[in-house]
């Protein structure tokens, strides 16, 4: 309505030359607004790659780790994959200190992953459980839900420690 009124006003004052520029201006601004809302509501989730910061959901002492290498996959790690990470934040007297390089299993990923039956699963956040090189967990507890796909990846210990299996 505003655009139409403005265009009519412009026509009566300045003639046809200016009429074309008013509606164009209005449409561009509205288009930009819709793009912004779309971007905020639907963020694209991607692989866990170098410099991805993940939450640590065990009692190993680390709080946040940053992925420095995915051990499998060309594009990056997904749900259930193992990564190498560096500890960015840690509790003051835990087993793992800040700055150490650790191995971890991705137990929750915000990017959806296909299941064996063809459906998909996705989680709220990116979370990791720290393990040693042999694949044994460093901590003794696992918080939050973990996927049952870890059994195929031979991480049965993590599954037994976890409270909820999704």
């Amino acid at each position: 309505m505003a655009a139409a009124a403005a265009s009519r006003f412009g026509h009566s004052l300045f003639g046809g030359g200016l009429r074309n520029c008013f509606p164009g201006l209005f449409t561009t601004t509205s288009h930009k607004l819709t793009c912004n809302t779309n971007f905020l509501s639907q963020q694209q989730r991607t692989f866990i790659q170098m410099r991805t910061v993940l939450k640590v959901v065990d009692n190993s002492g680390a709080k946040k780790v940053m992925c420095i290498q995915a051990l499998k996959g060309r594009k990056g790690a997904r749900l259930g994959d193992t990564i190498i990470a560096s500890v960015k934040e840690a509790h003051p007297n835990g087993k793992v200190k800040k700055g150490k390089v650790v191995y971890g299993v991705v137990v929750r990923a915000a990017m959806q992953k296909g299941r064996c039956d063809g459906s998909e699963v996705k989680f709220d956040d990116n979370a990791v459980v720290l393990v040693d090189k042999q694949g044994q967990p460093i901590g003794t507890r696992v918080f939050g839900p973990v996927p049952h796909e870890l059994r195929q990846k031979k991480h049965v210990k993590i599954l037994t420690l976890a409270g909820h299996i999704a």
Partner: protein, 168 residues
């Protein structure tokens, strides 16, 4: 294999279909298709979206309480296989379906019972209130003051009148 219900539209999620979202408190939201998943991401309430089962239940559109719904429910203990039982169940399924459909039809009929009279009453009221807006076609022919008078316009003269101010 378990057939789950979609969190948003309450339809059946068959194996290999849809997506499931696991919240950090381990609550699982299953969706039958991307339409339902997108509506969930937009934080819509299924009770307020008209095409969902939840809306239809809340607003009395569908049957809510019926003994035919008791057969379909989630059982956490797997039933031990029994040939006779399986045979009887397979026989009972179409029978129960038939009963359910007939009851749903009855419910719909009950819901629509007063509709025709209501529509007619509304139409009669509208006619009564708006009758002064309508003129009979024969009245227009009889009384010339009701129609627009016919004016003869000289076209060529008007064109020349229009052209002169534009040139100025």
């Amino acid at each position: 294999m378990r057939l789950e219900k979609c969190w948003f539209c309450s339809s059946t999620v068959y194996p290999g279909h849809g997506i499931q979202f696991v919240r950090n408190d381990a609550k699982i939201f299953r969706f039958c298709r991307s339409k339902c998943h997108k509506n969930f991401k937009m934080k819509r309430n299924p009770r307020k979206v008209k095409w969902t089962k939840a809306y239809r239940r809340v607003h009395g559109k569908d049957m809510t309480q019926d003994s035919t719904f008791e057969f379909e429910r989630k059982r956490n203990r797997p039933e031990r296989y029994d040939r006779n039982l399986a045979e009887n169940v397979l026989k009972a399924i179409p029978k129960i379906d038939k009963i359910r459909v007939s009851r749903e039809e009855r419910h719909h009929k009950n819901r629509m019972r007063g509709k025709k009279e209501k529509l007619q009453k509304e139409a009669a009221r509208e006619l009564e209130q708006g009758i002064n807006l309508v003129k009979a076609p024969s009245a227009l022919l009889l009384d010339p003051s009701l129609t627009l008078p016919k004016i003869t316009v000289n076209v060529s003269q008007q064109q020349s009148d229009n052209n002169t101010p534009m040139e100025d």
